[in-house]
């Protein structure tokens, strides 16, 4: 299973994104990111939703995010 990471600058959009993914049947967990991104502190979501689907869902529901990074395969 592929786990991808969505980096969000803001907790509001991170929670919204997490809830959107869950409502669409995906696993999604929010966590505070380590602050080592170019932009500094924020919140991220780990999810088993595919990268293309993440972009599609987030753009459809106008959820702002910074980046989507491939995570680990588990």
């Amino acid at each position: 299973m592929e786990i991808n990471i969505i980096n969000s600058g803001t907790i509001t959009y991170a929670i919204r994104g997490r809830d959107l993914l869950r409502n669409n049947g995906y696993k999604a967990y929010m966590f505070r990111n380590t602050g080592d991104s170019a932009l500094g502190c924020g919140y991220s979501i780990s999810t088993n939703c595919g990268i293309d689907e993440i972009h599609s869902l987030f753009e459809k529901f106008k959820i702002k995010y910074i980046s989507v990074l491939p995570g680990d395969s588990v």
């Binding site: 600058g9 803001t10 907790i11 509001t12 959009y13 929670i15 919204r16 929010m30 966590f31 505070r32 602050g35 991104s37 170019a38 932009l39 500094g40 502190c41 924020g42 919140y43 702002k64």
Partner: protein, 378 residues
């Protein structure tokens, strides 16, 4: 005490609001949206849940809900964040100082404004009055939903349509009506909705709400937002852009619980209960030659549950003091709304203002009426 000063702030607060705030302070009052530990995440979730509730309540989406220090702060954010030199604004003749004072400050910076006459119970005339003032450089209509002095409701749905038709932004000061009368920002074409949660939403003081999708507003305050920290600039998206510094978590939790309380009763029932009280005051006093009232009637849909009066040959302050001696709390004077008093012709006298809440009992209103009648004979 018979508390009838709910236009200033509602009192008492419901038990569920007090319990919710207490629990928050005891169990999870960490800084929301800053750290990653359990308490911070729990605090952040409760903030988000409040945004969701407010969004549902007012027909918006949760990221468009911004927490401020007060309704006045929300109004200042809109006026000073949106208007530029050379812009023209239209407001109503019933505005609170929360609108007029920033507009007068902005006048000094090259922004002009005009005051539209209000025709109580006459939607068409009121809307025409606003329309007649529209110019090429009119950028904003800002108005109160209802006067905090006399309860006159402005036709904000029709004014929203007017603004949209002319491609003008529309801001509403809903300090007196949020939680009493139904407001939907989408259906009413409201670009900026300013809310005082400590009134009709039964939340504590010290918190305000601004609902808007406009992330191009300039900020009044910049600072830490718990997001994009490496950037030395303010985030450019709502709500973070307008929420620098630590949020008032207990206040936000109070708003959540307040919305639950209002929803448990229902807006229509709250409005009807309160307007019935005010209507009873009006009908009991309107034929008393010693008492001056300032509206022709109290009709649902045209008035919010606020009523002002004076007793002939007595100052409003004296009447307020006398009522206070009998355990009845009202507000007297100009109510931070000199423009409204100009409209009513009471700039020199002020008025005695009465405003019930959902907790007010009919017996308390009868007590007030009897006391006013006795005072009018002395």
């Amino acid at each position: 005490m018979i508390y009838l000063d709910n236009a200033a702030t509602t009192f008492p607060k419901p038990k569920n609001v007090i319990t919710a705030i207490n629990n928050c302070l005891k169990e999870y009052s960490a800084n929301p949206g800053r750290s990653g530990h359990y308490l911070a995440r729990r605090a952040a979730e409760s903030v988000y849940n409040c945004r969701k509730k407010l969004a549902e309540f007012f027909g918006a989406t949760e990221e468009n809900v911004i927490f401020t220090q007060s309704c006045t702060a929300s109004i200042n954010t809109v006026l000073k964040g949106f208007l530029k030199q050379g812009d023209h604004v239209i407001c109503s003749a019933l505005e609170h100082n929360a609108v007029i004072r920033p507009l007068n400050k902005l006048k000094g910076l090259g922004i002009e404004y005009d005051v539209a006459r209000v025709f109580p119970e006459n939607t068409e005339s009121t809307v025409k009055s606003f329309e007649a003032l529209i110019k090429d450089n009119t950028k904003l209509i800002v108005c109160t939903h209802s006067s905090n002095v006399c309860g006159v409701i402005l036709p904000i749905k029709e004014l929203g349509q007017l603004a949209k038709m002319h491609k003008i932004k529309f801001a509403v000061d809903a300090a007196q009506t949020a939680g009493v009368i139904d407001i939907n920002v989408t259906e009413m074409n409201i670009d900026y909705l300013c809310i005082a949660p400590h009134k009709g939403l039964y939340a504590p003081m010290g918190i305000g709400v601004l609902i808007t999708a406009d992330d191009s507003l300039d900020t009044l305050i910049e600072g830490g937002t718990g997001s994009l920290s490496k950037l030395p600039y303010q985030p450019d998206y709502i709500p973070d852009k307008f929420e620098s510094g630590t949020l008032n978590l207990p206040g936000i939790v109070g708003i959540s619980a307040g919305i639950d309380f209002v929803n448990s009763i229902g807006l229509n029932k709250i409005y009807k209960t309160e307007i019935d009280h005010v209507s009873h005051i009006f009908s009991s006093l309107c034929n008393n030659s010693q008492i001056k009232l300032y509206t022709n009637s109290i009709r649902m849909g045209y008035y919010s549950p606020v009523i002002s009066f004076n007793i002939r040959n007595k100052s409003s302050d004296t009447v307020g003091e006398e009522l206070g001696r009998y355990g009845i709390a009202v507000r007297t004077g100009l109510h931070c709304a000199p423009l409204a008093h100009q409209f009513l012709g009471t700039s020199n006298t002020g008025t005695v203002r009465v405003c019930p809440s959902v907790f007010t009992k009919r017996g308390e209103i009868d007590n007030l009426i009897n006391r006013i009648k006795i005072l009018s004979k002395t």
